[in-house]
């Protein structure tokens, strides 16, 4: 067993452990439902697909967030990028709804990238500022009330319908995932992200235009957030204030649980996928157990700390 474990490459270790944890969650949840109701809804494909459908919004946000975290930065503007994209898409409506939403994400990502890459302001604080500007813009736009615009049929189709028995949202998630995974592993832009995240000075000296790389990563994060926003608006039939806030911290947690280093430069996309599935399943098992909100938060926090203690430990500073 020990031998088997040490033969796994270090960057894959988190992924393997997190996968084991997913299985453990499924077993515990099934054990619970078998003992109380005598059924095993957790293992039915239909239930799992439904969970993954709601998880796809988180998954798309986390995919974008991962690009930024790989650079050693962070994107705290996700909540209102997501909301702004959803609101603008719903209020433009018609054919142009989807392009408008994505354009909002691109624009926000560009602003974030310019601030971080050219003004050299720590991303933590710059994206926070952009987030509050976006919030201000949306409050001014909607007049502070819940907007009355309905999501377009296309948005609803993408978020809530099924194709061949599988929710369309999962196809969208899969499409985004493939794009991100290919970008990270097969393009020079992807390799530049890893290089810049490891040591920006070295990357710059070896001829990588690190500023453009940073801008590109933030734009991808913005686009991912806006896609999630448009889908979420379609899922709940309209955009609403605060729809993005519940996605920020779980997205960061999913990326980190998947083995991406929060300081940048290391991490595989498959890990982020595993991290998202882990968080989605953890949430659904806790709601099956009818755990009160207090207990949920405590378990949620403890699981993240516990798992990181198993595999996320850094090396000791000795020089």
């Amino acid at each position: 067993m020990n031998n088997l474990f040490s033969s796994i490459r270090p960057e894959n270790k988190p992924i393997v452990i997190a996968s084991f944890f997913i299985i453990a969650i499924l077993l515990i949840g099934t054990g619970y439902t078998l003992s109380t109701q005598g059924t095993a809804p957790l293992l039915s494909p239909n239930y799992l697909l439904q969970q993954l459908q709601t998880g796809s919004f988180l998954g798309i946000v986390a995919a974008g967030m991962m690009m930024v975290i790989l650079l050693g930065h962070i994107d705290l503007s996700v909540p209102w990028t997501l909301t702004a994209a959803a609101m603008m898409a719903a209020s433009v409506g018609g054919e142009m709804a989807l392009p408008t939403g994505i354009a909002v994400g691109l624009a926000v990502g560009l602003v974030n990238g310019l601030g971080v890459a050219y003004l050299r302001i720590p991303s933590m604080i710059f994206t926070l500022g952009v987030d509050s500007v976006l919030r201000g813009l949306m409050v001014a736009h909607t007049g502070g009330f819940a907007p009355q615009d309905q999501a377009t049929p296309l948005m609803r189709y993408l978020a809530a319908d099924r194709l061949l028995g599988v929710p369309v949202a999962i196809y969208v998630w899969a499409f985004v995932s493939i794009c991100i995974a290919v970008t990270l592993t097969r393009t020079s832009f992807g390799r530049s992200i890893y290089a810049t995240g490891n040591r920006e000075g070295a990357a710059y000296l070896s001829g990588i235009r690190t500023r453009l790389v940073i801008i590109g990563a933030f734009m991808m994060s913005g686009v991912c957030a806006s896609i999630a926003g448009v889908l979420l608006a379609g899922y709940s039939a309209k955009a609403y204030q605060g729809m993005g806030l519940p996605y920020l911290l779980p997205a960061i947690a999913a990326v980190v649980l998947g083995g991406t280093r929060i300081l940048g430069g290391q991490g595989r996309y498959i890990g982020t996928l595993v991290g998202v599935v882990l968080i989605v399943l953890l949430n659904s098992v806790l709601s099956i157990m009818q755990m009160p909100e207090a207990g949920r938060q405590i378990i949620y926090g403890s699981v993240i700390v516990g798992m990181l203690l198993v595999y996320g430990r850094g090396s000791k500073v000795t020089s």
């Binding site: 003004l119 993240i304 996320g312």
Partner: protein, 349 residues
Amino acid sequence: MDTFANKLSTSFRQSRGFYGALLLLIVIYAFYNILHPRGFSSAVLVQNANETVAIAFLAMAQTVPVLLGGLDLSVGAVMTLTSCIASELVSGSPVEILFGMFVTLLSGTAFGLMNGLIVVYGRLQPIIVTLATGAIAIGLALFVRPRPGGDIDGDLNWAVTNSLWDFVDTYQLFDPDATWFAPFAWIPVPLIMMFAIAILVWLPFRKSVTGRTVYAIGSAEGAAYMSGLPINRAKIAAFALAGFFASCGGLYLAIQTSSGNADVMQAGAYTLNSIAAVVLGGTSLLGGVGGAVASLVGACILRVISFYFRIVSIDPLLQPLIEGIVLLAAVSLGALRTLRVKNRLDLFR
């Protein structure tokens, strides 16, 4: 005299950001009082001080981990947790009230200590640890107080949220109209508490070996280790101190509102604002430069900006937008640094 001038110029050179922030605060607050119909009065100062205390404490709490080069995303949640605890305990006889305050502060400090122990002995990144422990703190707060509400001693609420005159009057310490007392009677109690804790807790900590080590770790952890500084002790102490400051904020919030409320949104907003206040005060997010007093000034700036909306007639719908733009512009001032850099490689961390 000469040495004093030297000291002053050294201090000025070392903390340009802090003096800039202080100047900005004085200018915008003076201007606010000129515009305000009842400006430069004790009543206005008392009200403003009351609204500033909680965020000022949180900004101080956030400063200590930031000086290490880390970040504490749980300060808002710890404040929420401790305010919920205080709303259960701070009532009854004076002894019970004091005991309740003690337990409140102790629980916040203990939570910070736990953060520190996980960061040091678990060897994890502070930002992700505190993200998770923040969720735990909110969960505990919901356990303590599933519904908003609470019971706080009324006298205490009145005494600490008003001027010194009311404080003395409430507790019948001496005749509040005494002539010798008149020059101090107008000072708001919350302001005194804020500065008292900053001076009694932060300044001694800063001067101690542990406090110096916090700065050293933020500048260069490897060098701090090689110099034999107590790295682990400093990190644990930094997070415990952050927990203590956050619980001061929580205690005050509970006394001020006479209730506790386990509100996730509020906790998140306070955490994010505390980071903004730290940066406005001139503390570097990369660590090693700045201080809690500077963050206190930063928090005041953040609040004074929002006070302006009361006296300047702006469409209320545009207020959040203007607040956001001001915040973004303020942090963008940090970009001036890039103009001074001679070697482009210095831009990269």
